[in-house]
């Protein structure tokens, strides 16, 4: 599915140079559920951004399937991302001015999908996420758990091969956190590859494999016992 080799990311300012990732290499197979763990500032989110083609590595290689995508230009990254990768954020990142239905529909619009098919897909995913009754509500009118379900619906509405989740339960109470993890497990069971950054050992334990990062380097890469 994806493979990174000797990945490096260095942030430079006028005064300081920060090495966020330093020689990271791993491979994730189709249908895997991988958790990335580590202390704050170890490079988890940076790695996720590179995997999500939101950012380019400073050095190293990144293959998405058979395509080397590590050095793609912004326009090509956008094109590649569409339909292939779904995102779930800790702070949900829903658009306040759009209602639930419109938020979920957004990635399909950028795929230039026809209106009828969009409607079918959005309706189906909202039903599946059990938030159909909130379709016309705005994000601020929803609870945190509901907002994250909308975010998951938006991430998987275009049926991506890969879902990247950045601390998806970080802003949720335990009940809603469990529900979100259960949804992610379902999606994974249906064949979607999931890479999840988390601080929670409990959530990480649900994944099939955990990669531990420390100071930009992989210190552990272990399969979980399910």
């Amino acid at each position: 599915m994806l493979k990174v080799e000797n990945l490096q990311k260095i942030f430079r300012t006028e005064e300081i140079e920060t090495i966020a990732l330093n020689g990271v290499s791993f491979e994730i197979k189709d249908g895997e559920f991988v958790a990335i763990m580590g202390p704050s500032g170890c490079g988890k989110s940076t790695l996720l951004n590179i995997l999500g083609l939101l950012d380019n590595p400073t050095a190293g290689h990144y293959w998405f399937g058979d395509t080397e995508v590590g050095g793609l230009k912004e326009r090509d990254r956008t094109r590649f991302r569409k339909g292939n990768i779904g995102f779930i954020f800790q702070s949900f990142n829903l658009i306040d001015e759009l209602n639930v239905y419109e938020n979920v529909e957004l990635p399909l619009k950028y795929l230039n999908m026809g209106a009828r098919e969009r409607k079918e897909r959005v309706t189906a995913i909202l039903k599946r996420m059990n938030i159909s009754h909130r379709a016309q509500h705005f994000p601020q009118q929803l609870s945190g758990g509901q907002q994250q379900r909308v975010a998951i619906a938006r991430a998987c509405v275009c049926r991506p091969k890969l879902i990247l989740a950045d601390e998806p339960t970080g802003n949720l109470d335990s009940k809603n956190g469990r529900e979100v993890m259960s949804l992610l497990t379902e999606l994974n069971a249906e064949g979607t590859t999931i890479v999840m950054v988390t601080h929670s050992p409990k959530d990480a334990a649900i994944a099939q494999r955990t990669i531990d990062l420390f100071d930009g380097q992989i210190v552990n890469d272990l399969k979980n016992e399910l």
Binding site: L54, N93, D96, E97, P107
Partner: protein
Amino acid sequence: MPRLFKSNKKTLVPSVLNIIGLAAAFAALYVILVQVHHDFTYNKSIKDSDRIYCMMVKDQFSDNNYSCWMNRPISEAIIASSPEVESGGCGYIGDNCPSADIVMEDGRHIEVRIGAFSNGGKDVFGFKLVAGSWDNWIDGNTYAISESAAKRIGVGVGDVAKLRREDWRGLHIDDAYIVAIYEDVPSQSDLASFDMFYNIGKDGLENFSQWSYHYFVKLHEGTDPTDFEDASLPIMKDVWARSNNLDLSSLDKSDKETFDNMVEQFKLHLMKLTDAYFAVNANVPGKTGNRTTTMTLLAIAMAVLIIAFINYINFFFAMMPLRLRSINTRKVLGSSRFQLIMSMVVESVVMNVIALAFALLIVTLFCRSSLASLIDAPLQFDQNWGIVLLTIGSALLVSVAASLYPAIVATAVNPAFALKGTFGTAGKGNLFRTGLIGLQFTVSIVLIICAIFIHQQRKFMLSRDLGFDKEQLLTAMTSPKIGFNRADAEIRLRANPAIKDVAWGDGPFVIDQRMGWGRKLRNEDVHWQCYPVSWNFLDFMGIDIVEGRNFLPADEQSENGVYILNQTAQKMYDIHLDDQIQGHTNSPAEIAGFCSDFNFSSLRDKVGPFALYVFGKKPWRPCMTLFVRTVPGADVPALIEQIRNTLHELDPSIPSDDFDVQLFDQTLQSQYQKEQNLSQLITLFTALAIIISLMGVFGLVMFETERRRKEISIRRVHGATVQQILTMFNTRFVWIVIVSFVIALPVSIIVMHRYLEGFAYRVPLYCWVFAIALLGVLAVTVTVVTLRSLSAVKSNPAKVLKSE
């Protein structure tokens, strides 16, 4: 310092843009209010102005119009016989006052404007003497001069100045005896249009056919002007009868009736001097304005102000999501709603005070620029304290009003709701802001359309085929000496290979006011404007003869003069070649032919009856206005110099530099100075309105992009391209512009239709003008929105989402 400045870097640029917009709007308001105040109070500061009237009669050249051109015997008789008149007499004031130059001993020329009065006319206006005496003010060479002009020129009572003038007597330099110095007159009046004036004396006092004087009367307090008008009719009849040696008692009923009807056509009409500035359907003495133009300028000032305040309100509303949290945190901590509202209002007032300070600076710079000449009144603050206070008052009042509504809305939100940050989802704030921007665009589009049409009309007037050949044409006023020796002058001038031909006329050829001749044709009164010319004038100008013959060299030797009338005169009065019509002598002049119509005055007026006239061997005066047709490709500046030198050689008493040789197009342009000024003013304020609007859009887009950075990033993460995001931002503004255009279209059509109605010859309402206004505003808006959004759209979405 307003909290807006220091609280948030994001708001700094929009705040500064707002202040600049407001400052420009306040400056525009002040400048236009000065002009409007000038127009509405013109002549009102003259002492007893409410009792001073211009004497007028029905204009014989156009229906429903009154003319201020009076004849002296009748006017003087009416004044002398009317107990209602406190004082009365003739005078030339306002735009009728010609420019002249005082030639200083060191050769310098100091420009002065010259007025003229009879003794009675001078008394109407109550000039106060500060030196000298009216006893010595007796004829055309004795002058009274204003205190400030005397100081400027450095002359006093008893001095003799050399005065260079160009008038119907040609170019001449005379001695001007300064016999009196009078106290300076109110600046915003026709009395300020001259620096010195001479005594008209007995000029034209016995001439019943010369309708070329302006008359003024000051009535006793409480006199009803209509009573005076009615009482003047029998006096007029009496004078008219005496002038024609008629014994009214011996006329039969039918002749008496005819006589009465004829005189009643000239019944006196009084127009209050203070009403003359905005007079419609009347040709008035003095400076005139146009109420529509003044109101248009006022409307533009208001529009600019509204646009600036819309920016301001929009800005406050745009700030609301940012400020709600702070406002409501204060509320939670115990601040009263009144305190919060007042703090926002005070903040608004401070911003407006800063804007006012900048406005003062802008006006000061405007005063020092050439643009100040577009305004008729002095712009200095010390001369307009009332308007300064009005501008400040309006600014503060509107600043309070403009901030009050957003303040009330912002403080009315439920704190819990606001602290959760849900204000933006309601959509009402967006709709309101969109409406305000739409209003700005509507005003801007209307102004653009108006500016283009006014410019087009002026261009049309300058380029239209006037019915004669105005290409490669130079003109100059010469002196009586040259005029009496035209043959010599022609030989000398024609010897110049750059000169193709030469002709002569009596004064400017295209002019709004010139002498009118009233004559009898088959016992009916006929009137036309008459222009004496040299025999070759029609050929020279390329004006076609449609019936009869052209002037011949022999016509210059005729006893009684020769006419060629235009087709309008021919048709209006059914004139035939064998008709007997008096010329400039007491005997009939020959009607040689009829020529095609051409525009002899500005295109505001339709072509009326017109006569070209060759005086013959006994002219009233020589034709002194020289017309020179150059050969194609002539070096015009060099030729002008050569013509000046030739004229100086022909009349050595006048220095060559004093001959003002001009391109004919230049003289034509001066006819449309008013349109040019209006065009420039409207263009200036339109540009201002558009810039302020765009500053508002810029500020708003900047704010929107800042506010929506997170949304942009979310969209980008989910696959939106840069182009798609830019399209999203632009679509909203494009729709606003389109809807604004739909509203602006009928408004601008109505406004321009009314404006163009003032011209007899006008441009049609071109569709392309409307298209250009729409496309122009669209292009500029899309550019501003795109440029402003681009940096936000191109930010790395991962970084933005992390920071947000």
